[in-house]
Subunit: 196 residues, 2 copies
Amino acid sequence: MKVSKAQAAQNRAGIVEAAARLYREKGLSGVGVAEITRDAGLTHGGLYRHFESKDALAREACLRAFEWTITPLDGLEQDSDASSTARLQAMVDSYLSASHRDHPGEGCPAAALAADAARAGPEMSDVFAQGVERNIQRFMRVLEGESSEKRAQTMVILSSMVGALVLARATAAGNPALSEEILQTLRERLVPSAPA
Amino acid sequence: MKVSKAQAAQNRAGIVEAAARLYREKGLSGVGVAEITRDAGLTHGGLYRHFESKDALAREACLRAFEWTITPLDGLEQDSDASSTARLQAMVDSYLSASHRDHPGEGCPAAALAADAARAGPEMSDVFAQGVERNIQRFMRVLEGESSEKRAQTMVILSSMVGALVLARATAAGNPALSEEILQTLRERLVPSAPA
DNA sequence: TGTACATCAGTGAACGCGCGTTCACTGATGTAC
DNA sequence: TGTACATCAGTGAACGCGCGTTCACTGATGTAC
């Protein structure tokens, strides 16, 4: 049965939303289109009225995942009551939390899907390059000082956070103490001259 | 046809070797058992005389991949002509090279497979926890100073390198300049007070 | 505003395909005598 | 040392299964008059 244009648009958004979450949870090759559409309350056949292929959906889902994870930063950026250092520390603490480690579906797509993206062809790499670049731009805003210095500092912090989260996830089930130690150590050492 | 015990052991090792390389190149769910055994010069049917399942083979392949990537460090550790800082910088430069980025099959399993490992169950997480812990131990040896301080420094450096390599790989095809910038920035900033 | 009809979002069966795993078979190995 | 034979590593066809994608069909939507 046909459906109103508004409903169709809502269904499409629901599919992208479900895909963005499921892909981050299970990996790009760990979820099928049937599971994604079922999660969105539809059947798999209709998927191809909205997306050219599974790969095209995956790209859009990653794009959307980058949107989501950048958005919360806007709040912190504009919280001008806090010092630059305190705001940065808050962002790092949030990123390197046990909650973020244990809920990849709502978390950073770079930490969850970067290895998959590297194998998924140039178009997906494009999506990731844009997402990473935008994350760098956003992160730079909370730093103070000269621009190219800020960019370099941001890259170090971003890389460290991604690596620490990835390692913390891989070791969480096998050695929870090590996983926690990685997160805690990086939280304490990533922000230069953090307040007491 | 039956084969000598020595030949059988060699075939088994060849399968693990092929698996270790192919898994790092294509991901845990990106390679089938047929491709692995073909790469080792055998057919897929005989695999189950050596391994209980594909997952068991994957675990052994990861274990082996961690062995390999730790080994080259032994050379650098014992090169006592160079200063601690210079040796550390050499290790970081090697890890964050374009060559390592472009050849994951012979590279660090943590950077290539950590996200997959986090989804592959507690036994695989165990393998990774041991691999990461052993890498920490090896890396600590090139640092000087108090033990717990060395361990914390090592975790920061290891996390940063893994994250930078993962991001450099994901962005390489879509934005080569960004990929190179990430590697270069981290090479320049990861080792405290690097020599000129 | 009311009617007739073309559109098209969504359904679910069906497709070809590659996957991990099983199994009857082969024949060289290695052992018992 | 020779001989007879049990063992078992490796082969390749076959299995059930889930995948991405296609397609004939349905029926509410939205438009032309």
